[in-house]
Point group: C2
Chain length 387, copies 2
């Protein structure tokens, strides 16, 4: 058994949206295909992976460093001890050969992208959906049959702000979502509070999240917190710079209600610092690390070990990114749920074609691997790698 | 005035050395040339930059994201308000357009490399050595005329360990260095202590640094600390993972003597966390951030502002990397000194050709820019970008 070739390409994952920090008009992602010499039902097994939105494709890093390391390993070094499947942990170690500690960005995307494709291949070789493989190997066989999802959006609409925002959120409710998330920090505090009040009319109390995308300094984060206290929000997300653990700590003290963060922390070391220093509370806060941006599932398992060490339940984890990889992890490792972007970052984000959101829950298709083949628009992009 | 073109190439900065974490046999660096339309004495002004050892070249990132942003800016956006020079701060903001917060690695190298070349061009256009420009613009005109340097090396020599180590260190003393640094963490504690005792015979007490390159867990860091207490070392460097601020804090408590770290922290946010959480002491510890790996001098000035906020003198800063850029910053901003690798990472590291180390001090050549033209072997590599 061996990997015959790994191919990569850069795809657009552009969107005409902006958050408080960046616009997504130039956003790209890398797509990789791990082509194996294995066949099932006459079909060659190929594992696919991509990086989720927000951090750009990693083609240069893939081609300069990470794919050559796989290519120069002997095939046996990439297999598990019984030789009947690829070994994502051994492959991870080979990818990270001669990489210094610290500096967790960009390369974490390159490795996360390859790691996703490896797990897709591994579960296809094992002829199981990934969530089932994860449940069997890491969760005593327990998997959730459906995963809680929330709808992320709530963008700014210059000129027609409130009504367009309400229309957008209403559309998410019509799709079956209960908890809805909107952007803040791209307007004045007063304007944002008006938007929040308008959004609450659609979501209902207790069902609205707000996301500042790391925009605020400590004064602004606290000033928003003081106002947001009145709204019984589901969560208040990424108020300040992702590495400003002191801001996070102060806000937890002052604001008191649920906070969420973690999508811009890309290693178990950074995740551990958030838990050590960020004042996050295991009974109410939410952690949003995204495996596709942070060295993949192999590193994610380390992050989950750290959570346990710090007394956190895995149910407090709701990954960023809205992709099927995190959905499989949420089901197979019994995390808290998964993000969903109903209208943007297509075709990479979203669920299998026949899957409907019902009462804010989604099921997973019963197909080997991550399930990309059951999402036709995405799979038609991925198949281009084999042409 | 405008930038006509920015070119880049990848060079080998390989070395047959290893530290406790990686080997450097595949190490690369990016070299960039910022070609302007300005002439002095009939010579076209070109600014050069490169990234220092340890984190690999960034060609993919440069070509995919950072150079296109400069190329698509209008020339005026890159100039200072009086229009008589490039503006490194405005250029930095353009480079970091649509980059999300957090994830400080790799892209910090790409930006640091361009930033170096921009400052080289800026000081050539201003017809000053960079250290003089920095002194004039950011240090009330004060510059040091010579900079303290120490010799980094002290490698492992399988099979002929002690004697070869002593020979290496003796050679550094013969070159004019007083303080010498050696690797630890690549052997057993007992063997490392034997090496340290042998090294002290060459350096003399108080003149030896040891560097674990982030290899130790907390138990090992403390176990080494317990033994190292007896040796009156100049510093004990990077004991654990660069983001394990808790380890650093515990070691400061237990070990007590001078510690050094920072070469693998690549942003002002990470530097601030080290000062907030790492237990570093402003009266004895050393900070080693390297501008060429961490978004350049523009970001370094932010780091120096944070130091001031936390009550630290700039004299506690001795940058990693052994390159002329940090040497200019050390002189012009009056930092504590600069690293030097007498025998490795050539031709990128080291000083101008005619400069000798005397009593552990080096002077800087009086040429416009960073001084690459006064280092002939390096400049001959850089000139290839213009062919």
């Amino acid at each position: 058994m061996k990997i015959l070739k790994i191919k990569d390409m850069t795809s657009s994952i552009a969107s005409n949206i902006s958050n408080a920090f960046i616009d997504f008009s130039q956003m790209t992602c890398s797509v990789v295909a791990v082509i194996t010499d294995q066949y099932r039902d006459g079909e060659q097994i190929v594992g696919y992976g991509f990086n989720s939105n927000g951090r750009y494709g990693a083609s240069g890093l893939l081609r300069e460093r990470f794919l050559p390391r796989i290519n120069s390993a002997s095939p046996d070094e990439l297999l598990n001890d019984s030789g009947d499947n690829l070994d994502p942990f051994k492959i991870w170690n080979i990818l990270m050969q001669n990489e210094k500690p610290g500096g967790h960005g960009e390369r974490s995307v390159a490795v996360g992208t390859i790691d996703m494709a490896i797990w897709d291949a591994v579960s296809k070789i094992a002829e199981k959906p990934l969530f089932q493989l994860l449940a069997d190997d890491f969760n005593e066989g327990n998997a959730d049959t459906s995963v809680w999802v929330y709808a992320a959006g709530g963008y700014y609409y210059p000129g027609k702000n409130i009504l367009a925002l309400q229309d957008e959120l209403r559309a998410y409710k019509d799709l079956g979502y209960k908890v809805l998330k909107m952007k803040i920090g791209g307007a004045s505090l007063k304007e944002d509070m008006d938007r929040i009040e308008a959004a609450l009319k659609i979501s209902g109390e207790g069902n609205l999240c707000v996301d500042a995308n790391g925009r605020f300094n400590i004064e602004t984060a606290l000033a928003y917190g003081k106002e947001l206290k009145h709204y019984n929000l589901f969560w208040y997300e990424e108020p300040g710079d992702p590495l400003d653990f002191y801001l996070q700590y102060c806000l937890a003290e002052e604001y008191g209600y649920p906070l969420a963060t973690g999508e811009n922390l890309f290693s178990h070391q950074d995740a551990r610092n958030l838990l050590r220093y960020g004042g996050m509370r295991a009974d109410r806060d939410w952690l949003q690390f995204d495996c596709a941006l942070s060295y993949g599932l192999v590193e994610y398992l380390r992050i989950l070990d750290i959570l346990k060490e710090f007394g956190w339940s895995k149910r407090r984890v709701v990954p960023h990114g809205g992709h099927q990889m995190s959905l499989n992890m949420a089901a197979g490792l019994q995390l808290g749920g998964n993000e969903s972007y109903p209208h943007v970052f297509q075709p990479f984000c979203g669920f299998a074609d026949e899957i409907q959101v019902e009462d804010s829950l989604v099921k997973l298709p019963n197909v080997p691997g991550i399930g990309f083949e059951a999402k036709s628009e995405l799979f038609s992009v991925m198949r281009r790698l084999l042409e």
